[in-house]
C-alpha cells in the first residue's frame, strides 16, 4: 500500500484500481467528480479531459472508490449504532423472513419480491420520490442497466437478482444532478453500497438526496467478456441465445429455445470479475436493509434490518399490509444456508488474497485494509486490555446438546461460536458453525456437541493487550478468542470476537458493555 497519496486522485485510481482490472463500473467516481472528467461509456471508465486544468488537488475519486482503503471505518458509522453484531452478518437490529403479499411481485422476482414491494409502497407514500434499481437490457436480457423509477409502476421492470454489475452509482449521480430528485432509494450489491456509504462519509453534496440504502446479497459478478467466451467455448452458447441465469446450487442457464444448461460453481468461478474473488462482504453489511434469497424456500426472502430508518420503512410496509413476515427461528436450515454462503465467500476471498500475495500480484487495497492497521490504530489497540472490551456474559452450551438444538440456538442468537462448558462451568472446548456444517443435516439430531467440539483452544488473559489478541487471531485464523483466568485456565471470563475489535477501532473512546442478545 502506498504511503503517500498523489495530489490528483485520478492518478492513484488509475494505477491502483483501473489498470490492475479492479473496476466494477459502479460509477460512483463519475457522480462524484466535480469537473465531470470521468464517464462510463462502452463498458469502460473514460477520462474525458485532464482534471488538472481545473484543480491542483482533489482526493475525491480515489477516496470514494469502493475498492480503496480510504474511509472504510467511517462507513461503518452508518450502521454501527445497531444493538447487535455478528460474524458474516455485520451490525443489525433484526433478522427475519419476509415476502411480498402481492403474488405478482413474487413471481417477477427470484424470491420474495420484498425489495419491489417495499420500494413501491415507499414511493406511493412519499417516503422516497425515486428509486435506483436495475433492469434488464432488451437486446441482451442477461445484461442489466440502471433504472430510475419515479412512479411505483416503473419498479415492475426492476430485477433484484443480477449476475453482471450495473452502474447504479452513476445513475444516482444523474438522478441528483439532472432530475433534481431529493429523496432517493438506492438498491445495489455490497460493493455499490460501499461506494454510496463512502460518498456519504466523505459528505459529498449529492448525498443530501439519499434516503435509504437497500443492499442485496451477492456472491460475485461475472465479467461479461470472460463469461461469454467460456460459455461459447465450453457449451457452444451465444450470448444472444441466453434468456436468464439462475443460481440454485448450480448456475442454470436458460436459453431462449427452452433448453437448460447447468454449470457448477467451481467451473464458473474463474470467470467472475477479479475484484469479486477477494470480496468478503456477502450481505451488504453497510446497507440500511439487506435482502437475500431464503434458500431452499422459493417465495421468501431473508431480510436483515440494520438501521433505524430501515426499521421505520420496513415496519410501515408491514403495517400497510404489503409485506408479511415470519420469524427466522422457524427455519434454522435457511439461516444455516445463508450463513454458510457468507462464510464460503469469505473463505474464497482469504484464499485468493493469500495466493495473490504469494505470487506478487496486486490486491485491491480494501481487501488488505483490515489486515494491516494504521500506526495510530496499533497504538490504540496496544493501550487497551482484553478486560476492557470482552463480553462477560458468554452464551455457552453443554456437551450433551445435539447439533440440531445448537443450530436453533444459533438461529436465535446469531453467534457463530459457543464455548462448551461442563456443569461446573469449566471449559471443555468450543463449537462453531463450521463444525455443524461438516455434519450432514440428517444426522444433526443425533450427533452431540461433545463429539465435534474442538478441544484445543486459543485463549488469552484479561490483562493481555488487545493488540496481542488481534495478532493471535490473525495468526490462528480464528474469529473469536476465549478469555480465561490466569490462575485457572479452564475458568471462562469472557469472549472477544473480531467484530468487537473492528468496532473498537471505530469508536476508540467509547467503553461498551455488550449485553447478550
Amino acid at each position: 500500500m502506498k504511503a503517500s497519496r498523489d495530489l490528483i486522485a485520478y492518478n492513484d485510481l488509475r494505477r491502483i484500481i483501473i489498470d490492475p482490472g479492479f473496476c466494477n463500473l459502479c460509477g460512483a467516481c463519475e457522480s462524484a467528480c466535480p469537473v465531470h472528467a470521468l464517464k462510463i461509456e462502452n463498458g469502460r471508465l473514460n477520462y474525458t479531459h485532464d482534471c488538472t486544468d481545473f484543480m491542483e488537488f482533489c482526493p475525491i475519486c480515489y477516496d470514494i472508490c469502493p475498492f480503496t482503503e480510504a474511509l472504510l471505518l467511517e462507513t461503518l458509522g452508518f450502521v454501527a449504532n445497531a444493538p447487535n453484531r455478528a460474524e458474516s452478518i455485520g451490525y443489525y437490529r433484526k433478522i427475519l423472513l419476509a415476502q411480498a403479499v402481492d403474488e405478482k411481485l413474487r413471481d417477477l422476482s427470484h424470491s420474495g419480491g420484498v425489495v419491489t414491494a417495499l420500494l413501491m409502497h415507499a414511493i406511493k407514500t412519499g417516503f422516497i420520490d425515486s428509486a435506483i434499481t436495475s433492469e434488464r437490457e432488451k437486446e441482451t436480457p442477461i445484461m442489466v442497466r440502471p433504472l430510475l423509477s419515479l412512479v411505483p409502476d416503473d419498479l415492475l421492470s426492476a430485477v433484484d437478482c443480477e449476475y453482471f454489475s450495473s452502474s447504479v452509482a452513476m445513475a444516482f449521480g444523474r438522478a441528483v444532478h439532472e432530475y433534481g430528485k431529493a429523496k432517493i432509494a438506492f438498491v445495489g450489491t455490497p460493493c455499490q453500497v460501499r461506494a454510496i456509504r463512502k460518498l456519504e462519509a466523505w459528505e459529498h453534496k449529492i448525498m443530501n438526496s439519499l434516503r435509504i440504502v437497500i443492499g442485496l446479497t451477492c456472491l460475485w459478478s461475472f465479467s461479461f467478456p470472460k463469461l461469454t467466451q467460456f460459455l461459447k467455448e465450453s457449451y457452444g452458447i451465444e450470448v444472444s441465445d441466453i434468456l436468464r441465469i439462475d443460481m440454485d446450487g448450480k448456475y442454470k442457464v436458460s436459453l431462449k429455445n427452452g433448453k437448460l444448461i447447468a454449470v457448477s460453481i467451481p467451473e464458473i468461478r474463474d470467470h467472475t470479475l477479479s475484484v469479486c474473488r477477494m470480496c468478503e462482504d456477502f450481505t451488504s453489511e453497510l446497507a440500511d436493509i439487506s435482502v437475500g434469497g431464503a434458500h431452499p424456500l422459493r417465495d421468501w426472502s431473508l431480510v436483515i434490518i440494520r438501521t433505524e430508518i430501515g426499521e421505520e420503512i420496513f415496519e410501515e410496509a408491514v403495517k400497510a399490509g404489503v409485506i408479511r413476515t415470519r420469524k427466522i427461528e422457524e427455519k434454522p436450515n435457511v439461516y444455516a444456508h445463508f450463513v454458510r454462503m457468507g462464510l464460503l465467500k469469505r473463505k474464497y476471498a482469504i484464499e485468493e488474497i493469500e495466493r495473490r500475495k504469494k505470487r506478487g500480484e496486486p490486491v485491491p487495497p480494501v481487501s488488505i485494509r483490515l489486515l494491516e492497521l494504521l500506526p495510530r490504530e496499533i497504538s490504540l489497540l496496544s493501550s487497551l486490555k482484553a478486560e476492557h472490551i470482552m463480553t462477560k456474559n458468554v452464551m455457552t452450551v453443554t456437551p450433551e446438546t445435539t447439533l440440531e438444538e445448537l443450530l436453533t440456538i444459533m438461529t436465535r442468537h446469531h453467534h457463530m461460536g459457543y464455548p462448551v462448558v461442563d456443569d461446573e462451568g469449566k471449559i471443555l472446548g468450543i463449537v462453531t458453525f463450521e463444525d455443524i456444517s461438516k455434519v450432514p443435516a440428517s444426522r444433526r439430531g443425533e450427533v452431540l456437541v461433545k463429539e465435534v467440539a474442538r478441544k484445543k483452544l486459543v485463549t488469552a488473559y484479561p490483562d493481555s493487550s488487545v493488540m496481542e489478541i488481534y495478532e493471535k487471531m490473525s495468526q490462528y485464523k480464528i474469529g473469536r478468542i476465549l478469555i480465561v483466568d490466569r490462575k485457572d485456565h479452564r475458568k471462562l471470563l469472557g469472549i472477544i470476537t473480531k467484530t468487537d475489535i473492528v468496532h473498537m477501532l471505530r469508536w476508540p473512546m467509547k467503553k461498551f458493555d455488550k449485553t447478550p442478545t
Binding site: 465531470h36 472528467a37 464517464k39 479531459h49 486544468d53 481545473f54 444523474r174 444532478h177 439532472e178 433534481g180
Partner: protein, 393 residues
C-alpha cells in the same frame, strides 16, 4: 461629400439619459439635418478577447455583462451556441424557464425604454410613473433569480434555479398589475397631445429602407415588417408558445412606442401561458467541461432586436474565437437614414427611438453646410434647445 461650409455642433459623450457613449457628426443646414456620420467604438472593452481567455463556464458570466439590460438574451444566446457545439439539448422545463425569464426581461427593458423616451421628450411625470411600475417586474426577477439585474439563470445544459410553486402566484399578481398599467399608459400616450406632436411623423423609416438597411427588432416592426427571430428561427420553447408579432404601419417614433407597448402585453400573455403549461422534469443536463472542435452560431430576439453570437472552439477548455453582433449595431445605418431631414431638437428622441443599448449622445458635432463653422455645444446648452422646442408646442 465635402464638409466645406459647415457648423459642427458636438454632443457630449456623457449623456445621462442613454446608456453608452457614441459620437455623431451632423451636417446641418439651419435647423435641418442634411447628413449624419456616426462614430462608434467608445465603449469598446475587449470583450471578444476576454472570451478567449476564460473557460466556458466563466464565459457565461462575462456574456451576461456585455449589456446590463439585455443580459439574459446574451446568456441565452451564448449557452445555446455552446449546447449546439456539445450536441446537447436543454430539457423541456429548462426551456420554458428560459422563455419566462427572457420575456420578463423584455418587459423590463421596454418599460425602462418608455421611461427614457418620455424623459427625452420632456414628459418627466410619465417617466417617473413608468419607472415606479417597473419595480414590480424587477421584484419578480429578484424573487426568481436572486438579483434585480444580471439574473444568471442560464447555464450550459439548462437553468440553474427552478421557479418554485410558491413564487408563481406572486408572478401572476405582478403580471396582472403590469397589464393594467401598460394599458393605461398606452391610453395616455395615444391621447397626450405633447407626445403626439413630438413623435408622430418624426424619424420616419420607410419599410423598403428598413429592410434594405437591415434594421432589426421593434425598429423594423414599427415599419410594418413582420420579422421576429422567435418566429422565424424558434429557440428555447418559442415553438410551443403561441404569440403574435406586434407591428405598426406608422414608421415613425410613435409607432415604435406603440410596438413596444404591444410587445409588453404580448410578453405578459406568453409568460402566463408558459407558467400554465410548464412541464415538470429535469432542470439541467450534465455536460462535459471540454468542448469538441467546431463552430456554432446562435440567434435570439433580444429586446432590441436580433442578437447573433458566433463561437469557434478548438477542443480545449477555452473558446478560440467569439463574436457578438448586437442589435443596435444593425440599427445604426437605419438610424442615420431616419435622421436626415429632421430638426436638430428631435435628435434625442429619434436616437432613443431605436433603443440604443450601445449609444449615448456623445459630443455631437454639428457641421453647418453653409458656413462650415464648427460649434461645440455642451450637454446643458443642448438640453436647453430641446426644452425650448418642447415649450413651443
Amino acid at each position: 461629400m465635402s464638409y466645406g461650409s459647415t457648423i459642427k455642433v458636438p454632443f457630449g459623450p456623457q449623456h445621462p439619459a442613454l446608456k453608452e457613449p457614441e459620437h455623431f457628426l451632423f451636417k446641418i443646414d439651419g435647423d435641418i439635418i442634411v447628413n449624419v456620420k456616426p462614430r462608434i467604438g467608445y465603449n469598446h472593452r475587449g470583450i471578444e478577447k476576454a472570451f478567449e481567455r476564460r473557460t466556458y463556464i466563466q464565459n457565461i458570466y462575462l456574456a451576461e455583462r456585455i449589456c446590463g439590460i439585455c443580459s439574459d438574451a446574451h446568456t441565452t444566446c451564448y449557452v445555446q451556441a455552446i449546447e449546439d457545439l456539445l450536441g446537447v439539448e436543454a430539457p423541456p422545463r429548462a426551456r420554458y424557464i428560459r422563455v419566462i425569464v427572457a420575456e420578463l426581461e423584455r418587459i423590463h427593458s421596454h418599460s425602462l425604454w418608455l421611461g427614457i423616451a418620455a424623459h427625452e421628450i420632456g414628459f418627466d411625470t410619465l417617466f417617473m410613473h413608468l419607472w415606479r411600475d417597473r419595480e414590480a417586474v424587477m421584484d419578480i426577477l429578484e424573487l426568481i433569480s436572486g438579483n434585480r439585474v444580471h439574473y444568471a439563470m442560464n447555464t450550459i445544459g439548462g437553468v440553474r434555479r427552478d421557479i418554485v410553486s410558491e413564487t408563481i402566484p406572486k408572478v401572476i399578481g405582478s403580471l396582472d398589475f403590469l397589464e393594467k398599467r401598460t394599458k393605461y399608459y398606452m391610453k395616455v400616450l395615444r391621447s397626450e397631445p405633447t407626445v403626439l406632436k413630438r413623435t408622430v411623423d418624426i424619424g420616419v423609416l420607410k419599410p423598403e429602407d428598413a429592410v434594405e438597411l437591415c434594421a432589426v427588432g421593434p425598429t423594423l416592426r414599427a415599419s410594418g415588417v413582420k420579422n421576429d427571430v422567435r418566429r422565424d428561427d424558434p429557440y428555447a420553447a418559442y415553438d410551443e408558445i403561441p404569440f403574435n408579432i406586434v407591428t405598426d404601419d406608422g414608421c415613425d417614433v410613435f409607432s415604435r412606442i406603440l410596438v413596444r407597448c404591444g410587445e409588453i402585453l404580448e410578453s405578459i400573455n406568453m409568460i402566463r401561458y408558459a407558467l400554465d403549461h410548464m412541464p415538470s422534469g429535469m432542470l439541467r443536463v450534465r455536460v462535459p467541461m471540454v468542448v469538441k472542435p467546431g463552430e456554432a452560431v446562435s440567434r435570439v430576439e433580444a429586446p432590441r432586436g436580433e442578437l447573433i453570437h458566433y463561437v469557434k472552439s478548438n477542443g480545449s477548455t477555452r473558446p478560440e474565437r467569439y463574436k457578438v453582433r448586437s442589435p443596435t449595431l444593425a440599427n445604426i445605418p437605419a438610424l442615420c437614414k431616419m435622421l436626415i431631414g429632421q430638426h436638430v431638437a428631435d435628435i434625442p428622441i429619434i436616437l432613443a427611438g431605436i433603443d440604443p443599448c450601445f449609444a449615448c449622445m456623445d459630443r455631437l458635432v454639428f457641421v453647418d453646410v453653409k458656413t462650415n463653422k464648427k460649434k461645440a455645444l455642451d450637454f446643458e446648452s443642448f438640453r436647453k434647445i430641446v426644452r425650448k422646442r418642447h415649450e413651443l408646442l
